[in-house]
């Protein structure tokens, strides 16, 4: 088993969607190379503990559970930690707006490290090639200049003024348009994007990806959408996001090495990769070693 760095150990880590966790029944998963069992109790609060022979589908004997791991609920998901997590999760204030459609969009296993998946989420250059005719289409391939900063106050990477020409940016979009994005990386394995909303140009749709690092080279991607869309059904919105993610999966699983290399000389960045470079530096400075190839020396 790989050593887990202290920063990663103290983070909140996502493990499952709340409404997909039946109360009183054992669910199992893998987090940071460790087997976990979890369920919800009679008050529907999540309970997470280290797995000790339980099988998925067993009826939970709450008395028999030994040490319980810390738990927090957030954005429709159950989060836990092996260390001393902060009092709260990172904020996504839009989630609380009453008229939004908030939904989990499934949990998808990926044979790649969590940081590789975050980096892909931040990347616009692949839209015409991987999400052809949805998030981008040749020949419109340009990634225009955008701004990146690491906010010290909030300890997150922030990319703003990101623009890309998209043939069908959202389910409710009917024609091509230049779409503006803002990306946040508020957690080493989570990212949130804000994009122009086709229905209301004063507001922005929110899509977030929460990566569950199962091993250094495997993760599960849990997706959240918080949409301003009065027309589409939840099923349609979920299907759209799953289509997008289904297109990313085979590319991500063909990336080598599977852990994210933090040495600047391991790959070749271009200006369009400014946010990825900031993300890699931020991980490096934090001292994250799980799921990455740290810079030597």
């Amino acid at each position: 088993m790989t050593a887990i760095d202290k920063v990663t150990r103290d983070l909140w880590q996502v493990i499952a969607a709340i409404d997909e966790t039946p109360p009183g029944i054992v669910q199992v998963t893998l987090l940071l190379d460790q087997q976990l069992a979890f369920t919800r109790d009679a008050a529907l609060r999540p309970v997470v503990w280290r797995r000790n022979g339980e099988q998925i589908g067993d009826v939970v004997d709450f008395e028999a559970i030994g040490e319980r791991l810390p738990v927090i609920e957030g954005y429709g998901y159950i989060w836990t930690s092996f260390g001393n997590p902060p009092a709260e999760l990172f904020p996504i204030p839009e989630y609380a707006e009453a008229d939004r459609k908030n939904m989990s969009c499934g949990s998808i296993g990926l044979h790649v490290s969590a940081p590789r998946a975050v980096e892909n989420f931040l990347d616009m250059g692949h839209f015409p090639y991987v999400h052809t005719d949805i998030l981008g289409a040749e020949p419109h391939t340009e990634v225009k200049e955008y701004d990146v900063e690491v906010s010290e106050e909030r300890d997150e990477v922030l990319a703003t003024r990101c623009r890309f020409f998209q043939p069908r940016a959202a389910l409710s979009a009917t024609e091509g348009q230049e779409v503006e994005y803002v990306y946040r990386v508020p957690h080493p394995f989570c990212s949130v994007l804000y994009k122009s909303c086709p229905e209301d140009d004063t507001r922005r749709d929110v899509i977030a990806i929460f990566l569950q690092p199962m091993t250094e080279e495997r993760c599960r991607a849990h997706l959240l959408q918080s949409m301003v869309d009065s027309v589409s059904t939840i099923t349609e919105l979920r299907r759209f996001q799953q289509t997008i993610f289904g297109q990313d999966k085979p590319i991500l699983e063909n990336q080598y090495p599977k852990r994210l290399p933090l040495d600047p000389r391991s790959e070749t960045p271009i200006r369009a990769d400014k946010s990825a470079i900031a993300y890699r530096r931020w991980l490096s400075q934090k001292g994250i070693t799980y799921g990455v190839i740290p810079q030597a020396g």
Partner: protein, 587 residues
């Protein structure tokens, strides 16, 4: 013989039949994954299976015939050199840095593709290779270490192709250097030899690749015969291997990219080294235009170029002149340039046309690109006048190969003035030749051709000065924005503003010079006894390129492209000056 990632031995890694048109084959040798692909010109490329940008396997990329395109971000890599020719995220930039994927040596022979982990030893065919009409068997992959497979192959028995049903043949085995064995089967009067090679895929995985010394009459029956027997061998070897502790996988490492590639922004100082080329062919391609084909020495491929790129040619009389490369994608065995035969003056072109002959060796620079082609247009208009066809021919051939929409308008005085007609004829339906138009008709033709501008349309023009002006004015009149109109200068026709006065500090020479108005930095350096190289002294050739360490440059040259100028890291001392009071140069 223990396996090592640094083993220089050549192994077969694929069958020729694994490389059909426009396919990319996923191979592996000594733990290294390989992307193996055949270009339309027949050349077989064996590359590290990893795009240098984000590590995605190139074996899932697209073989476009002359370039391999990565699936993730569409980066393109050229046949032969594996040099990057285009980065779609920045369509207006020429990739300034030399981004080149790792390649491995490749030879196609006897129906197999051969490669090695490095280039330490040249390819040598197996002993007796020239005595057979070799026929490749189907490969047999197996989960067993190469050494064990090799040992078992010594005892492999088969029937000659002409005696498949005869009593069991007598076998003779003769081990060959490397992981190979020559086996001979005798069945009565019938005899057949075969060579079997073991390709070490990784420490615990191998592929058996066999060659028969004759092509059998009934190929299928013979292939089946060997498949059945090799399959039995595989079953036995895999069972034995499963009982042994698995050997540790080989650990090949990825080479690091250069510091230059790893840093941003991506401005490289274009200080080209020169290379020697031989004039392979010199011919009159049109009335007054001479074609030169310049090939690498020793059949080595030439450096990667992008459409629109030019080379500096160092002439026997000491002059340096720029000529555009006319080649299509992936053509790196030679560069073809066109030279206008000038009757008057001492011009460099006159020297090339009159004194340089086939077989002569010339020094050229690596290709530079001040005229990059965007490949993100919905319509591309190429306008050539006379000798200006050269960069546009290259652009047209790239666009044509990728099936991108374009049209090439070629303005000439008469049919005899059409250069490179054999290449133009291949661009079926895309080339419009305008012959003998009076100047005003050229203007109206250009206006009709351009039409009103709409999103993602671009025009590229190369030709005589007046034509360039006509295109710029016409395009502007029709509402084409400046960034959609692309052209290139080979001569600096700008009026140089030499009015400023400033101070120059030469860091390495520990000198401080005052530059008065009316004098160039180059002249003042010479007045102070410094020997500095220069050639055209009009900011066009790049010879006096100098690194800038401090200060703001007033660029007046036509050599550096816009991004290089913006980087403020280099300048031409023959025409450029300072905007700041002081410049610090690395001289």
């Amino acid at each position: 013989m223990a396996l090592s990632v640094s083993d220089p031995t050549w192994f077969p890694i694929a069958s020729s039949a694994d490389l059909p048109l426009r396919h990319v084959y996923h191979g592996q040798l000594l733990g290294r994954e390989l992307a193996v692909w055949r270009a339309d010109d027949g050349n077989v490329n064996v590359w590290e299976n990893r795009c240098l940008h984000r590590g995605v396997r190139l074996s899932i990329g697209v073989n476009e015939g002359a370039e391999l395109k990565c699936q993730y971000h569409g980066w393109r890599y050229a046949n032969r050199s594996a040099g990057c020719t285009y980065i779609p995220a920045h369509p207006a930039d020429a990739p300034a840095r030399r981004i080149t994927n790792k390649t491995y040596p490749a030879v196609e022979a006897f129906g197999l593709v051969w490669s090695a982990g490095n280039e330490d030893v040249p390819f040598a065919p197996f002993p007796g290779a020239d005595s057979g009409d070799w026929f490749a068997l189907r490969p047999m992959p197996l989960n067993a270490p190469a050494e064990a497979v090799m040992a078992a192959l010594l005892g492999y028995a088969f029937q000659p192709a002409t005696a498949l049903d005869a009593p069991a043949a007598d076998m003779q085995a003769e081990p060959l250097p490397g992981f190979a064995v020559r086996l001979t089967a005798h069945a009565g009067a019938e005899r057949q030899a075969a060579i079997f090679f073991v390709q070490p895929v990784d420490a615990a995985r191998s592929v058996i690749r066999g060659l028969l010394d004759t092509t059998p009459a009934d190929r299928l029956a013979v292939l089946r015969h060997h498949n059945e027997r090799l399959d039995k061998l595989r079953t036995r070897l895999e069972r034995e291997a499963a009982r042994q502790p698995a050997p540790a996988p080989l650990q090949p490492s990825f080479d690091k990219v250069s510091v230059e590639l790893s840093t941003m922004p991506e401005i490289a100082i274009p200080r080209g080294t020169t290379l020697n080329v031989v004039v392979k062919r010199k011919w009159t391609t049109a009335d007054g235009i001479i074609g030169f084909e310049l090939a690498g020495i020793d059949d080595n491929h030439l450096p990667t170029f992008q459409p629109g790129a030019h080379i500096d040619v160092h002439l026997p009389n000491g002059l340096i002149r720029q000529y555009s490369i006319t080649n299509g994608p992936g053509e790196l065995l030679s560069y073809v340039i066109g030279v206008k035969q000038e009757n008057a003056g001492k011009g460099g072109s006159k020297v090339l046309a009159e004194t340089v002959r086939e077989g002569d060796v010339l020094a050229i620079s690596e290709p530079r690109n001040n005229f990059p082609l965007r490949r993100d247009a919905t319509r591309t208009v190429l306008l050539a006048g006379g000798i200006g066809i050269t960069p546009l021919l290259s652009m047209a051939r790239f666009l044509d190969k990728s099936s991108l929409p374009y049209e090439l308008h070629y303005f000439v005085r008469s049919g005899e003035h059409v250069a490179f007609r054999e290449q133009l004829d291949l661009l079926v339906g895309k080339v419009i030749i305008h012959t003998g138009l009076p100047p005003d008709a050229v203007g109206t033709t250009i206006a009709t051709t351009l039409g009103a501008h709409s999103r993602a349309q671009h025009v590229y023009v190369c030709g005589p000065g007046p034509m360039l002006e006509t295109v710029r004015n016409t395009a502007a009149g029709l509402g084409w924005p400046e960034e959609a109109v692309h052209f290139e200068y080979f001569k600096n026709d700008k009026v140089i503003d030499a009015s400023s006065t400033f101070e120059v500090e030469l860091a390495r020479s520990a000198m401080t010079l005052q530059i008065p108005s009316g004098k160039t930095i180059l002249e003042v350096m010479r007045d102070n006894g410094l020997i500095v190289p220069s050639s055209c002294e009009q900011g066009a050739c790049g010879t006096c390129l100098t690194t800038v360490m401090e200060g703001e440059v007033d660029h007046q040259d036509v050599y550096l492209n816009e991004s290089e100028k913006r980087s403020n890291t280099c300048m031409m001392t023959c025409v450029s000056r300072a905007r700041s009071a002081r410049l610090v140069l690395d001289i």
